[in-house]
């Protein structure tokens, strides 16, 4: 092995081993398209602390609130389309907005999806003393007379929360348009309405229910995850295993502008993939109340395109979009 060959190998292996040191990312920035304190803030914080070892410089978190993410996506489609340093937090809610045209002309094809940092899942919740003891009870009643059941959740018609109910009904060819759906302002009000008897069924998220498990007031009929999730939810069946094809994963992750260089994009992807392997990343994920769901690059992109297409189908079926 001559010196030239050796140095080439060294250079290549260094580039592969520590791509972040290689150059395109010199001022890493994570944009949370919301006010501080919400889910997007949390998403950026996971990247900030989880990628400490993979980044040369710490990731700065910037807040860009407005229009549930619309302000940020506008900016990254007009002026910062090739910003190699910036990653923007998104959630399944953002994907839904793309699917239903809430972001105006901007769609899933206008950004490059980068990496996920974890997930939360839908949950079907009733009060402990509900007439529905199982998901089968609920669905049997729904098939008999859908209009006899009052369903509520923290989002409007067409929101993620509503989608969960629509999916569940769809698994038995019931139309969400026949559903009595009540939109509350967030999970807290919905749970109050459930306990107070204003609504019978609440379409919630696993993450927010941690504090209610084992209190003896609420019963989770099923979780909407692909597989069972860990304690304290280990005993709760998934909707799929009960025979209802209704999965709702709330994905949290990042996208970049459409015109970023492949070099920078790949460097970010590799940084995330390296972080996924570490114990620290798993710990941070758990601390922030996220369940592991680690996907980056092409794998993530494919999964997202599939999700958005599915969302668009449901929205179209319900007459929300043309």
């Amino acid at each position: 092995m001559n010196f030239k060959k050796f140095s080439t190998i060294l250079a290549v292996s260094l580039t592969l081993a520590a791509p972040a040191f290689a150059g395109p990312i010199d001022r890493p920035e994570c944009i949370a398209p919301a006010k501080p304190g919400g889910g997007f803030d949390l998403t950026c914080r996971v990247a900030q602390s989880g990628l400490k070892a993979q980044m040369e410089k710490p990731i700065q978190v910037t807040f860009m609130p407005g229009g549930v993410g619309a302000v940020a996506i506008n900016l990254f489609n007009t002026t910062r389309t090739d910003d190699d340093n910036a990653i923007v937090a998104f959630s399944s809610g953002s994907l839904l907005n793309m699917a239903t045209g809430k972001y105006g002309e901007w769609k899933e094809s206008d950004v490059r999806f980068l990496a996920s940092v974890g997930a939360d899942f839908g949950a079907i919740v009733v009060p402990e003393d509900s007439r529905f003891k199982s998901l089968d009870d609920l669905m049997a009643a729904a098939e008999k007379d859908l209009k006899s059941i009052v369903v509520g959740a923290g989002g409007s018609i067409g929101s993620q929360d509503w989608m969960k109910a629509a999916l569940l009904l769809g698994s038995r060819q019931l139309s969400p348009r026949d559903m009595r759906y009540v939109a509350f302002d967030g999970g807290g009000e919905s749970i109050a309405a459930l306990l107070g008897g204003s609504i019978e069924v609440y379409m919630g998220d696993v993450g927010e229910l941690v504090s209610h498990v084992g209190e003896g007031k609420l019963r989770i009929l099923a979780v909407m995850s692909p597989e069972r999730i860990g304690a304290p939810f280990a005993d709760i069946p998934t909707a799929i295993e009960l025979g209802y094809d209704a999965e709702w994963t709330i994905l949290r992750g990042f996208y970049m502008g459409k015109n970023v260089s492949d070099e920078a994009y790949n460097a970010w992807v590799e940084a995330f993939e390296a972080a996924y392997e570490t114990e620290e990343f798993a710990t941070i994920q758990k601390e922030k109340g996220l369940l592991p769901l680690n996907m980056a690059g092409a794998e993530l992109n494919a999964s997202i395109l599939e999700r958005v297409a599915k969302m668009r189908d449901i929205a179209r079926g319900a007459g929300l979009i043309d």
Binding site: G37, P65, K102, A183, L195
Partner: protein, 497 residues
């Protein structure tokens, strides 16, 4: 009863720990200052200081005590800029300006500040006492309050506020309508359709309450001040050494009792908070006591009512959060997050699993209220001196503080333009003799009224009879009729005498 006494005893032992006692004082003092700054209120105070409290590595009960101190400290402090400057710091303080600021303009700033401190103290303490006695019971009642009951409550609120109709009913109604229009901007909470957003993404989520309050009241007031200064109409205010008297307290005692009750009741409901509480308390008080048309011109009862109510509401909002784990307001939602951060789950189990936190917090609220009174009364003179700062320095300073305050909350430059726009609008409305309070009312109550009406009708599948099918709503409609008719009767009675 025994458990309450034992719990409180243990709680006071935690709260009187010298370190925790110091944190209560620090929290209350910092909260007062945060509340006094225009644009910063309890919600942002707690949100900004939560990471700091966590970062300090304090034990759970100490951190929660500190944050709670900031919460009710800010509710106290909110009155200061309302009274002195006519610039409410947050939504709950809007009604404090109506009689508080006229008192300050009459040279009674000290009297207004000390009186409102006492009203706040009574409201806050009343809430803590009710909370420690009947907390869990009240919380399980509060969750049964259904959307149709909220509709009845809003009808009651509108009825009590009919009293705000000033000399010109048409202008009042137009102003309220303007508030309703502002409330309807943004994604409709029910159907998810964007309304009146004109393709501007920044207003998709609606206009933040704070932006409307600071714009319509704060900025409009500042523009008004600048105008007065330029036209040389500005009167210099003397340092006033007025202070609350015993006769004042006797005069406002029933206003405080009624308003504390109203505030606490509205506070424990998960869907309403200090802004609705202070509005309803002011309206009701005006309806009952304003026999000579002194409300709005510096009547101490008009100042005491909203202050007692918003502090009682702040205490009330803690009830469902502590006993059921359901946050009743934005601020308590952040406090709930703080509990979870320390791996404590608010709810019935908290009182058995972490009694030191649950009862320690309640005990610290008793201490905090006393501490706030002690901190605030001597400071009255110092705050009142603020008015002697020449306006040419004070006005820009307040403008800058308001901008920073608002930006720290919304972090969107678009909202700063919005504040200026609303400020100009507010100033024009004032020029045209439109009252501004009805705009805010339309904004707060209109949104709640619409959301809950549509929820109720979704629940009943379109059957309107749901609106009158619970005892709660019938009682509230009854109260609405009484509140609307009482002044008429009183007038007739007086006419006969």
């Amino acid at each position: 009863m025994d458990t309450i006494i034992n719990g409180l005893g243990a709680g006071f032992a935690v709260a009187f720990d010298p370190f925790n006692l110091m944190l209560v004082l620090v929290g209350c003092f910092a909260g007062t200052l945060i509340g006094a700054l225009p644009g910063l209120g309890p919600i942002n105070g707690v949100a900004i200081l939560l990471p700091i409290a966590y970062g300090l590595g304090l034990p759970a009960e100490s951190a929660i005590i500190l944050l709670a101190g900031i919460y009710y400290g800010a509710e106290y402090g909110g009155r200061i800029s309302s009274i002195l400057l006519n610039v409410p710091g947050d939504a709950g303080a809007v009604f404090t300006t109506l009689d508080g600021n006229p008192m300050a303009k009459k040279g009674e700033a000290g009297r207004a500040l000390s009186l409102s401190a006492l009203a706040s103290f009574f409201g806050g303490t009343f809430a803590v006492i009710l909370m420690s006695l009947f907390g869990p019971l009240l919380a399980s009642y509060a969750v049964t309050f259904s959307p149709s009951d909220y509709v009845a409550l809003m009808v009651f609120a509108f009825a009590s506020l009919a009293s705000l109709v000033g000399s010109n009913a048409v202008k009042t109604l137009l102003a309220a309508l303007l508030g309703l229009m502002l409330a309807s901007i943004g994604i409709d909470a029910n159907t998810g359709v964007a309304r009146y957003t004109f393709g501007i993404p920044d207003i998709l989520a609606g206009i933040d309450f704070l932006v409307v309050v600071i714009g319509l009241f704060g900025m409009a007031e500042l523009i008004h001040l600048v105008e007065q200064q330029v036209s040389g109409k500005m009167k210099a205010l003397k340092i006033d050494k007025s202070f609350v008297s015993w006769a004042d307290m006797v005069n406002v005692k029933w206003a405080i009792v009624r308003s504390s009750f109203i505030g606490f009741f509205i506070g424990i409901l998960p869907g309403t908070g200090a802004s609705v509480a202070s509005a309803v308390a002011y309206g009701t008080e005006k309806r009952i006591s304003d026999n000579n048309g002194t409300f709005g011109k510096g009547d101490p009862r008009g100042l005491a009512a909203p202050e007692a109510a918003n502090n009682a509401a702040a205490g009330g909002a803690m009830v469902p959060m502590l006993t059921l784990g359901i946050p009743g307001s934005g601020t308590t939602a952040i406090l709930l997050g703080a509990f979870l951060l320390f791996n404590i789950t608010p709810g019935p189990a908290m009182f058995t699993q972490h009694p030191e936190v649950a009862w320690g917090l309640i005990a610290s609220m008793y201490i905090g209220n006393v501490a706030l009174l002690i901190i605030n009364l001597p400071l009255v003179g110092i705050f009142a001196r603020m008015l002697t700062i020449p306006q040419k320095y004070l006005t820009p300073l307040i403008a800058v503080l308001a901008f920073i305050g608002v930006y720290s909350v919304v972090s969107n430059p678009h909202d700063l333009y919005m504040i200026i726009g609303l400020g100009v609008m507010g100033w024009l409305l004032r020029k045209l003799d439109f009252p501004l309070a009805p705009v805010i009312l339309g904004f707060v109550l209109g949104g709640l009224f619409e959301d809950n009406l549509r929820r109720a009708l979704s629940i009943s599948a379109g059957d309107w009879s749901i609106l009158v099918n619970s005892p709660d709503s019938i009682v509230l409609y009854g109260l609405a009729i009484i509140v609307a008719l009482v002044p008429v009767f009183l007038r007739k009675k007086r006419a006969k005498v």
